[in-house]
Symmetry: C2
Subunit: 328 residues, 2 copies
């Protein structure tokens, strides 16, 4: 069994290791004391509007409000005692920051988060609330990476990347494992949103390992469609100047997640921001679920009829929104 190198310094780069089924099973056991087994939700109205049976796996109810708790918990609790004692670090302005801080607090180890100065106040407060030390930086990728490198050198902490990490992907895979275990019927399609690709990689690997008759689709905003363009081109194309309301999906695939997705994902479907907002409103109004714009992306694909006649599971990735800045 290939193990992920989370105990190694980040400088051991160009690592494309993906989790095996054993890694995913181990992740499920490892994180079980820490995360929630989130419920599945269905809606007759969603079924009617999409022309098929849709089952939502509701990670908006997960700890820290997003599936990110799974990967972070798996990565943090996979560390050896000596590595863990060094603490963990990342750069993030979003759910991964809070999830890593939450996981580190559960393990009782230090955590440093490099956060751009334009990070949402709520995300900053949540990350601080879990006991992280936040290091501010300019809101550019270069500044984030340089500041994190400085923090890693100064503290000796272990970097936990939000998606380019096999243990993070194994943790994310447990959403799809639970979805398939808790629903009695097989799915024709399982869909997840795609940003950096950790959730979609984990979903695709879990489905491929357990139910090869089910196909996996990614769902992506047109304004940040690097995954769709990468799959079409047959090689990784980085996202430049993303422009979408789905603020969790701005990042590009990494070589590691591209490897998983190009091998195991049948299709990346894209939707407009108008479709995303309409789908978000549908889920809030009809299903009474608070979901982020990012999770509305696969719902929008379904509402356009793309999976009509095919039983479809959708990973609802999170529910952290700013109620003062809703799009409706």
């Amino acid at each position: 069994m290939t193990r992920s190198p989370v105990d190694e310094p980040a400088s051991v780069a160009a690592d494309l290791t993906l989790p095996t089924w054993s890694d995913m099973e181990a992740a499920a056991l490892r994180i079980e004391p820490h995360v929630l087994r989130t419920p599945l939700h269905r809606s007759r109205q969603l079924d009617e509007a999409s022309g098929t049976e849709i089952v939502l796996k509701c990670e908006n109810f997960q700890r820290v409000g997003a599936f990110k708790a799974r990967g972070a918990a798996n990565a943090v609790f996979s560390l050896t005692e000596s590595s863990a004692a060094r603490g963990v670090a990342c750069h993030s302005s979003g759910n991964h920051a809070a999830a890593l801080a939450w996981s580190a607090r559960r393990r009782g180890i230090p955590v440093w988060v490099v956060m751009p100065s334009n990070a949402p106040a709520a995300k900053r407060a949540a990350t601080l609330g879990y006991g992280a030390e936040i290091i501010d930086c300019e809101p550019t990728l270069a500044a984030r990476e340089a500041t994190l490198a400085e923090v890693l050198q100064r503290t000796g902490a272990v970097e936990i990347d939000p998606y380019d990490n096999a243990q993070i992907i194994a943790g994310a895979a447990t959403c799809a494992i639970e979805l398939m275990a808790d629903d009695p019927l097989p799915f024709d399609v399982v869909m997840a949103p795609v940003g950096g690709g950790g959730l979609l990689s984990g979903t695709a690997l879990a489905v491929a390992a357990t139910c090869p008759t089910t196909v996996v689709w990614g769902a992506e905003p047109l304004g940040a469609d690097d995954a769709a363009r990468s799959l079409a081109a047959g090689h990784l194309i980085a996202q430049t100047a993303p422009d979408t309301i789905a603020d969790g999906l701005l990042t590009s695939l990494s070589p590691r997640t591209y490897r998983a997705i190009s091998s195991h994902v049948e299709r990346i479907a894209t939707v407009t921001d108008d479709e995303i907002i309409e789908a978000m409103r549908f889920v809030w109004e009809r299903m009474k679920l608070v979901i982020e714009p990012s999770c509305a992306v696969p719902v929008a694909v379904a509402l356009r009829g793309e999976v009509a006649g095919r039983r479809c599971g959708i990973i609802i990735s999170g529910g952290n929104v700013d109620l003062a800045a809703l799009p409706f």
Copy 2:
């Protein structure tokens, strides 16, 4: 066993019949094919903030988005064939209108709804969508009652009052029955919001019949506190000029619901609209549940620490809100 007189004309007034335990058990069986067994939700953050264990019974996920589906289904499916054939009618601007229309469609009988001209467009659309004939009237109680009387005389329909009806109360009681059945531990307190008092009456009767060590509280907006004033005075005091964001709780108790509540409810706790909005925001932001302001009322009581140290179940009554007119 005393049966409720839903098959009798509304003119047989001054009826204070309340459902027996047998009526409530019968209601649970009768509506089981039609309604959802809604889930229970908990939150560590809510527990911490309220100083106790809180369990929410999530009727926001119920058919038509509110517990009203239970009472309406019970009343409609209790009718004899000959009564049902006459159809059903009510005056309502809210969830009961949609619930009655939905129930009538399931039974395949006609339904007339008298609706004030200022009823929310979404409620009107939902009621029409379930196939009701809507009769418009001026937005006063007198106009509503006079118009309904005319409709009843013209059509011969059976009136189904939103709360002053023993079968409606028996249906509402099934929320608390499921709450107590689906949670393994006894509650010290069960709380429900109170407007006309149908939900609180059913909750109190169900708890009294099955778990006499549990006390029942009502939760009421200060701006529509007729139940609190009635219990304090020892006699029914009607609400005049209610003023609260909790638009589902504007109505007064009836003699029937006053009878149940004065016998079986320990206390009516009141909260301000600011507390209601804060509690609603808490549930949306932290628990990712879309709930109406009315359901936030008992949550606000808990957040003020009123049930600290006492295990508490709360009936979340519905989730129908206008996303274009949120209070935050």
